[in-house]
Amino acid sequence: MEKINREQVQELLNSYQDKKVYIHVEVTSGMYASHLDDQVFNTGMFLRNVPVNYTQGAIRGGGEGQYRVGLKLDNGGWVYVLGLTHFEVNENNEFIMHGFNYEGKLASALEISTKEFFK
């Protein structure tokens, strides 16, 4: 993974536009967050292998290396992820964006692929 390069990520987002793609979306505070600190409210979510078609995808932000990505779907819906810091396209041609927190732990993710992700 490398730190997000805004131009490269925007080009990648453009390349998946107006196609049926599968997404993995994730936000997590970790399963042990409130075990380790009872002042923390545990939250998290993931969506995996959800097919979508977006007509517009854009990357914004970038202050302190943290970016936001929004996908406007063909039915008018949205996919939105905050706190993305790193990206890569892996050997399976999956476009992966991850947000790592200050301890280096995954805090958010948005992944896009024309094929289904590993189940």
């Binding site: 993995h24 075990h35 732990k105």
Partner: protein, 222 residues
């Protein structure tokens, strides 16, 4: 620690065996006891992807599979079973499904002792689902055929509710092997290993916690 006919260790995540149980498993292996480790998921939703990151959400299952295979090799296991469920999802399997999986393994292996998590005291929903499945499966067996249960509990209210652990396994002489086993789970254990190797009070506390004894609770059905 008595010689068992067969020990079955059931946990949901690659590395669950490393911290609290790998010394015990190694001791059983060295006694000539057959030990099976059934690991229900690949731990593929973990948040630790290395620092700086060397894994992604997509490569993690392959990396953690290799890590647990190396861990099993270091423990000396010849029966590692990776069941391949997705991390974080065990509690959402159909009711009774995991119990059936556990029951099939018990029928096949006829373990005299099962090591798993303590239901209600193991924090992570996957741990709880695993523990409940084991308790349900064993509960259905005739009392005379039930394997002994040796359970790991670590929620913050454990000591208050359950008291001191009644099974204490001394792992003196296994420190180096256990450290290697923990190191095998590189994507998870990097910072902890640095702490263990240090000269600080925190390091000494960590060594006391992980490298002297492994502690468990026994559990009687009914």
């Amino acid at each position: 620690m008595e010689k068992e006919r067969q020990v079955l260790v059931i946990f949901p995540h690659p590395d669950d065996e490393a911290f609290g149980v790998s010394g015990t498993m190694s001791r059983y292996v060295d006694m000539g006891v057959p030990v099976t480790y059934a690991c229900l998921t690949f731990g593929d939703m973990g948040r630790n992807l290395g620092y700086p990151p060397f894994a992604t959400r997509e490569s993690l299952h392959e990396i953690r599979k290799r890590e647990v295979e190396e861990s099993a090799r270091l423990i000396g296991l010849d029966d590692l079973r990776l069941l391949g469920y997705r991390d974080k999802t065990l509690e959402f399997e159909p009711p009774g499904h995991l119990k059936g999986v556990v029951r099939d393994m018990i029928d096949e292996l006829e373990p005299s002792r099962i090591i798993t998590f303590y239901p209600g005291y193991s924090v992570h929903p996957d741990h709880e689902a695993t523990a409940e499945a084991v308790i349900e499966a064993v509960s259905e067996m005739p009392a005379s055929e039930r394997p002994a249960l040796q359970l790991v509990a670590f929620s913050n209210n454990t000591l208050q509710d359950l008291g001191e652990p009644d099974i204490v396994v001394n792992i003196e002489g296994y420190e180096e092997r256990k450290e290697k086993i923990m190191a095998a789970h590189e994507s998870q254990t990097g910072p902890l290993l640095k702490t263990l190797a240090g000269n600080t009070q925190e390091s000494e506390a960590a060594r006391q916690m992980w490298m002297k004894n492994e502690t468990f609770y026994s559990y009687d059905i009914d």
